[in-house]
């Protein structure tokens, strides 16, 4: 396999992956609102209907529950549905199918049926969307056993993780950061690229503090880590990549090494996935902690309107202050 790479936006990487996976596996069916003729409202599915036809790339009625629910049936028929929910907030309309059915299909039938189902959905703030478009709901899904939850932070990972997600025999919720669609660009392998699910990525080594994060917040965390490096503070950044499966070993290792931890999430603080990271650290390496873990989160209010967004979403400044605070604590 060649080592050639090209610089792509995360959106381009996703689109390319859908093209190559559909070409590889003719069981794959793409379904969702506006995924066909329009190529998706963000163009993630651009060109697919032209290449694979309107029986494999299907514009559905506006029925999130039916999109998720019919995916169960498609999987039962031996197909591989890759569904799009236009914005993650509208997965609430399909919650009884995602949580109540997709996540349980294997368990309740003791593997008679394999839920090889991928649900892609954009989410996350910073782009002044209307309500319910930006909300970070990953923690709510993480408490639903049977779902894998994958959140890439680079274009290259988007390709590698989406490839794994589609091929995975379990249902995967693949969450794409709106800000990253065009805002994140990096070198992506041209050929097949597989990043296994459940392996975190230590995107930056460091000794004094580790920032643990996922999705777009990794991008911000890297910037903070780089700028603090110049000030003589050695900050590691761990990108979880998936929160289920959770790479407990990687968390343990870097926390044990650094002793100080900041967890950054965009979701509301209460019950956000940062709490689970803290609980996991408590379980695994409590005695390594030299200070309490610091959480940086959204606030405990619904994702706000555009003018308030900058106050809500964690920014570099809030992450920087958290790192400094973590260094103070002892």
């Amino acid at each position: 396999m060649s080592e050639k790479t090209s610089e792509l936006s995360m959106l381009e990487a996703i689109n390319e992956t859908l093209h190559s996976e559909m070409a590889r596996d003719d069981r794959i069916v793409i379904l969702g609102e506006d995924v066909g003729r329009n190529g998706g409202v963000f163009r993630a599915t651009e060109g697919l209907i032209e290449k694979f036809g309107d029986t494999r790339v299907v514009d559905t009625p506006i029925s999130e529950a039916a999109i998720a629910g019919s995916s169960v049936g498609l999987a039962m028929a031996g197909l591989v549905p890759v569904a799009e929910i236009q914005f993650l907030g509208f997965s609430y309309q399909a919650m009884h199918q995602i949580a109540g059915q997709i996540a349980r299909l294997r368990y309740r039938t003791q593997s008679r049926f394999e839920p090889q189902i991928t649900i892609r959905a954009p989410f996350g703030g910073g782009v002044r969307t209307p309500e319910l478009h930006s909300d970070s709901l990953e923690a709510q899904f993480a408490n639903i056993p049977g779902l894998k939850i994958v959140l890439p932070s680079t274009a290259s990972d988007a390709k590698g993780l989406l490839t794994s997600a589609i091929r995975d025999p379990d249902p995967v919720l693949f969450l794409e950061p709106l800000r990253g669609y065009r805002g994140i660009r990096d070198m992506v392998p041209d050929d097949e690229h597989v990043v296994p699910l459940g392996k975190a990525n230590l995107v930056k080594k460091g000794d004094d503090v580790v920032i643990i994060s996922w999705s777009y917040q990794v991008e911000l965390s890297k910037r903070v880590a780089d700028s603090l490096e110049k000030a003589g503070i050695s900050v590691a950044v761990l990108d979880l990549r998936s929160i289920v499966p959770l790479d407990i070993e990687a968390i343990s290792q870097i926390v044990t090494h650094c002793g100080r931890v900041v967890v950054v999430q965009e979701a509301p603080e209460t019950g956000g996935f940062a709490s689970e990271v803290i609980a996991t650290i408590n379980d695994e390496c409590f005695w390594s902690l030299e200070a309490p873990v610091i959480r940086v989160s959204g606030f405990d209010v619904p994702y706000p309107v555009g003018m308030l967004e900058n106050l809500y979403v964690p920014d570099e400044e809030r992450i920087r202050l958290a790192v400094l605070k973590s260094l103070e604590g002892s």
Partner: protein, 334 residues
Amino acid sequence: MSKPNDEQLQMIFEDMVIARTQAGRLWNMQRQGQVGTIAPIDGHEAAIVGAVHALQTESDWVLPQYREPLGLRKYGPEVLDAFMLYNLGHPLGGHIPDPVKVVPSQISLAASIPHAVGLAWGMSLKNEPGVVLVFFGDGASSEGDFYEAGNLAGVLKAPVIFLCVNNQWAISTPTNLQTAAKDFSSKAAAFGIPGVTVDGNNPSLVYEAVSEAREHAVNGQGPTLIEATVYRLGAHTTADDPTRYVPAEDLSAAQKNDPLLSLLQELKNKNLWSDDKQEEVEKAALERLDEAFEKAKNTPLLTDSLLDHCFASDTSRLARQREQLSRSMEKSHE
């Protein structure tokens, strides 16, 4: 053409008698604490068995709600075997083995309707023959899932049959509080598909309606919504007390329309059924139930079952939990 012939009618009646007989025994077993909550089939036999006999077991899928399993004998003994495991609360109760085209009971009302549509859609994408029939109640028809799936199926022309078994009750809620629609089949207009209401106490009419819907579907003409009207002759489940809300006069009127009574008479008149036959069928039905029950009771329960089959392979969190589980079981046996 699509009416059942005498032989078929006899087989249908046999399955109805078996279902009724086994249901009675199951009710008693529940009362004795041998099995969990049961939703009796009494009154629904003609609708369920009549429909199933119009299907081809090799190609056509059945997705039951929860009241149907005893009526699915045509699909093979595996259905009852799994059902007995299910009634014991055994995890394998959810596993009806390949190639039996029956899905386990669905507790989440209407949730299997979009599954049926997806399955039918998938079958047509794969050019597989056959149709999908999904059972659901008058109550389940009020869920968004029914409408979203029906609408999607209409657009896709998926080869699916929506069979609404209207037994007049959703636990304690009568149909006039469930919907103001003229009848349940008129909801088909919302999907642009044919809708038909049939007397669900008459298995021939149900058979006929399902046969026609099947023809329609395999010919690429898409789904049909069938309402089979029956009357729930028993309780909602073993946990329910219908005397709180079912008018006694309605029940006794319905009992006179018991789907087994009129067909029994018809078959007897045609010399296709006899008291001896009846006795023989009932006896065999009970033996079969007892056999399935014994088999179920003797199916080992592995502790691993708790954590198996959630994912294809353990996450590291699950692996830790598996260790914890076996450690805490050891400790508690110390």
